[in-house]
């Protein structure tokens, strides 16, 4: 089951703009809809919705969460193989492979290079084959 937008939607477009997989369509001030074939149940739409108009995959209303409380990917450099599958999967271009520290350096790894654009969807953690990424709130251990 995918997430669902209810009639409470005011058409503010926040969910569509933040959805990391562009699964939400709708015009300004009109009811938005989630494409169930694409939705990855990440919950970003619900976390940004000011009208509590998003139901999760079990029908529960998703609570709005302040941006500062969002989880962010934490990458274990010692495990990361720099395979870039997370970089490729990130719909917000928040991740990249680190630049070499010196000419000829091949010990590179994935990093959260654009924290501002990250919506905390957790897709990177899901696709990482090495489970080198965990989603964590800032300050949490």
């Amino acid at each position: 089951m995918a997430f669902l937008i209810t009639e409470s939607c005011t058409g503010c477009t926040l969910c569509a703009r933040n959805c990391p997989v562009k699964a939400i369509s709708g015009e300004l001030k009109k009811l938005h809809a989630i494409n169930p074939a694409r939705c990855v149940n990440c919950g970003v739409c619900g976390r940004v919705c000011p009208s509590s108009a998003v139901l999760d995959n079990i029908g529960k209303t998703v609570v709005k969460v302040s941006k500062t409380e969002w989880e962010k990917p934490v990458i274990d450099k010692s495990l990361c193989g720099a395979c870039s599958i997370c970089v490729n999967a990130c719909g917000k271009d928040s991740l990249s492979i680190s630049m070499p520290a010196f000419r000829g350096d091949i010990n590179v790894f994935a990093l959260l290079s654009n924290e501002k654009s990250c919506v905390g969807c957790g897709i990177c953690a899901k696709v990482c084959p090495l489970k080198a990424i965990v989603m964590r709130k800032e300050g949490a251990s």
Binding site: C39, G81, C83, P100, G104, I106, P129
Partner: protein, 633 residues
Amino acid sequence: MNLPIYKFIDLTSGEIRDYPISRTLFERYLGGKILAGKLLMDLQPEGLPRFHPDNALIINTGPAGGTGAPSSGRFNMTFKNVLTGGIASSNCGGTFGVSLKAAGIDGLIITGKAKKLSYIEILDGGVSIKDASAYAGMDTEEIQSRFDKHWGKLVIGPAGESLVWYACAISGERVAGRCGAGAVMGSKNLKALTAYGTKRPEIYDPDGFTAYVRKWTAFLKNHPMTGSALPTYGTAGLVSSANASGALPTRNFKEGRFEKSRDISGESLADKRLTRNGGCVSCPIRCERRVKLNGREIKGPEYETVGLFGSNLGSGDMDRIIEINYYADIWGMDTITLAGTIAFALELQEKGMADFGLDIGGKEAIIEVLRKVGRREGIFTELANGTKWLSEKYGGKDFAIHSKGLELASYEPRQSVGMGLGYATSNRGGCHLNGGYLALIESVGVVSVDRRHPSSKAELTIMFQNMMESVSGAGFCLFTAQAVIPAIFFKLGPNHAVTRAVNKILGSAGFALRPIWWLLPGLLPFNTMFLLPHAEVVKLITGMPMTSGKLIQIGERGYNTERLFNLREGLTGADDSLPARLTNTSQENDPEGKPVPLSRMLPLYYKVRGWDSEGRPTPKKLKQLRIESGAGV
């Protein structure tokens, strides 16, 4: 076990439907080029000319594709070879394969010809054919920029639209280069394919998969080849070793050593031009070169491009090679065949046998040649047909460096005779990878089995051909198989007594390898990191009881199926050949050297393969491999 999902697309009628893959077909042919070879055999009508609308184009992935297993972000294109008339398979590391898989599709079977220039859009499993008139004539960079940046793309450039016989298809900056994949797309009025989705491939044993992939990634990162040499110097790192062993093709394969090899070496590229290394999606090896051109970071050239546009054209100008590589990609042409054709045309000119007005002296001059070939302008339209066609029109077959019509890669077979046998027997023509890539253990690697002697080469070639076929069919990059050479040899070095002893043993152990092909899969009923970790990963992904022995036998089945396709399309044992320059004369700078003893190796190769003296798989071999005719089996 989840069976792969294939879509059948008829561009003529616009029909799009599911194409079911049976469990038997999946278990016997797995995926990638192996399954695609079987599907081509079943679905491609016999004897059609190149560019006939009914020719089939199969674009698919292997079971590992998109799972995140090491170097598994690849996809395959299989079709009737534009240059040889036999089978073609072209493998690419661009993002299209991963995106196709994310859209919930494992493979596409495309037939027919669209009425106008079109592209196929795949979104979340839905497939539609769309108008691409607005993209006509666009280069591969520009058209890709017109689609959503997060979509996987597979496109052709002007060369594909102009039906240059060796036009390639491009995905991101990676290339399905060989055999004319782009020309086949062009002949179908198919300018591009795009794919996007958010599905994750189902993995049978997710915890086991993560644990094993962690181990394998660490193994690859710690191996001197995949963890150090390839990421540091890229494939161009082979220039120095090829030159040292006289295996660097120079001036249309007249010589094997180039006086300016240092200027075009991987070391020089890394020291002077490299900004960083890059890689295909899900690859921890990261052998791609990123270099600066006119203030912009672009993809650097691979070994083949460096050798064939460098030494083989007598040029030591790395900047020029970088630029050529860039333009060949954006206009959509295979650099190996393009460079081979130019080298042959130049020699025809030198000998007064033809006059194309070909001048490749300056950087601008050769880029202009590329532009004209890519658009089939004037006399340059002849160069767009490749070396074999030119040699049939103007003569010079002795020095037309191709096999079956496909130009040879950048390994000189007279200093790598097993590679010579591989080029000659390769199903897709003069290809080093489909040919078994014996150069790696003859002339460019740390282990070096006597590169001029035919002993054991037939057996080793078959072993490598089958293994590489299985690795590719499972959906992995062939470079992961380079870790099969034990790390200890890199520590000891090529001149250590132990390394030399192993060279000798391998060079005379051929007879011991002969029974293998009748004893599989039982001979290797296990999986190990040191041989084919790919088999264990396939097992963890699919739940199929896969062993190294089974996987290699699937590779052998694939190789024989491709061979059957070639025979059906009119190729014979006589096409397992090399040009006379390589089989009758020695290299110009090596008067004591010898030609490739192909006629000595070929009969044994056929025998060990279980083929008759004409190179046809015997009924006994087909029965053993359970190769049956008819769709679905």
